[in-house]
Symmetry: C2
Subunit: 213 residues, 2 copies
């Protein structure tokens, strides 16, 4: 089965598997069963076995999976060997935190350029990342071959920005604003809505009988 035929839910679990396998390898473990994996990553073992089967990674009964082989395999799928340059637009509190964080646990992506309208920080380096003016957006995206943008601007500015990003050739947007962005089919948006996460959690703890997913 070709890689691009795997279900979306499976694809979303790949980075989690990858990071856990990395951890196992660091701790000297050479093999792992789907039950052990299930215990660690909190998906059920049947889901894990099905996920792995999409990639033709079949464990051996009584042996399990070879940690290093599986990790290298997922690493290739996740493209861990190349480094993707990412732009961050909006260096407010959340933007600043993401610059400091800069996806340390990930080896395949790095924020290489930040953008803001605040003259006080334009042309400075924040947490190792240069901050450019908004006027430099298209030029830097082209020069640095940036394909992914993190949007941490105020909601009112988000749609105009998304239009500019799409025109500049951005393929993926990690959207931290509560606004649902309107983008062409060539752009994929991943929404990270922190208020929504909290409200959903509050809703669930106040409605404890709700069926689990």
């Amino acid at each position: 089965m070709a890689e691009h035929d795997i279900p979306r839910a499976t694809a979303k679990r790949l980075p989690i598997y990858y990071r856990y396998l990395n951890l196992l390898l660091d701790s000297g473990k050479t093999r792992v069963s789907s039950n052990e994996l299930a215990e660690a990553v909190k998906f059920d073992a049947a889901t894990i076995r099905r996920d792995f089967s999409y990639f033709g990674a079949l464990g051996k009964r009584g042996y399990g999976y070879d940690v290093e082989a599986l990790m290298n395999f997922f690493g290739r799928i996740l493209d861990q060997d190349t480094l993707a340059s990412v732009a961050l637009i909006g260096v407010g509190n959340l933007g600043q935190a993401l610059l400091n964080f800069n996806f340390h646990q990930s080896s395949n992506a790095r924020i290489s350029a930040a953008f803001d309208i605040n003259e006080d920080i334009i042309n400075t380096i924040q947490a190792g990342v240069p901050v450019y003016s908004m006027g430099d957006l298209e030029d830097q995206i082209t020069a640095q071959r940036i394909e992914v943008a993190i949007v941490t601007v105020p909601s009112v500015a988000a749609q105009d920005l998304a239009d500019r990003l799409a025109k500049a050739g951005i393929k993926g947007i990690l959207n931290f604003t509560p606004l649902r962005l309107d983008v062409p089919a060539s752009v994929r948006v991943q929404n990270v809505d922190l208020t929504n996460e909290l409200q959903t959690l509050l809703y669930f703890i106040n409605n404890v009988d709700l069926a689990n997913e």
Copy 2:
């Protein structure tokens, strides 16, 4: 149908509906169709109509939904009239950003206490929120009747902290560490894994033929 019988996916969309209805009301709009809602929140109209039907909120053909009535109704479900006190543990970069952010768009939750091991900030007020030592955790959770905790500590400290939180009576954890927490059934965990969001996005833009959700 009782509120607690609604599907999890529907429950997760409620805060999004609620916020958008709020926006509509602010802009003076009194009614809205499921198609307009669909365009704005990017779920399809059939999904929206099905979601609303769980709550007995049925639009009238050719009229749509009454914005204010629907908003008040969802507000009650989401418990917008009460203010939930939330603890934040780990005032690093991300923790600090969340304190500053403090879920402004939400009217039903507020971080009321932060905790850290850093002596330099213990007993100070950060972004309006008092920072306590980790020794004060259980006392403050009890005193402030806190039921939800945001975990922004380093991964290595996360499981021990989750154990303490569960013992202290916390019912919900918003987990920003990549670690999958082991908690009793009485505690609900919502994972916000920023590295994972970015890696998933990278994966999808590199595998463009992947079926959309």
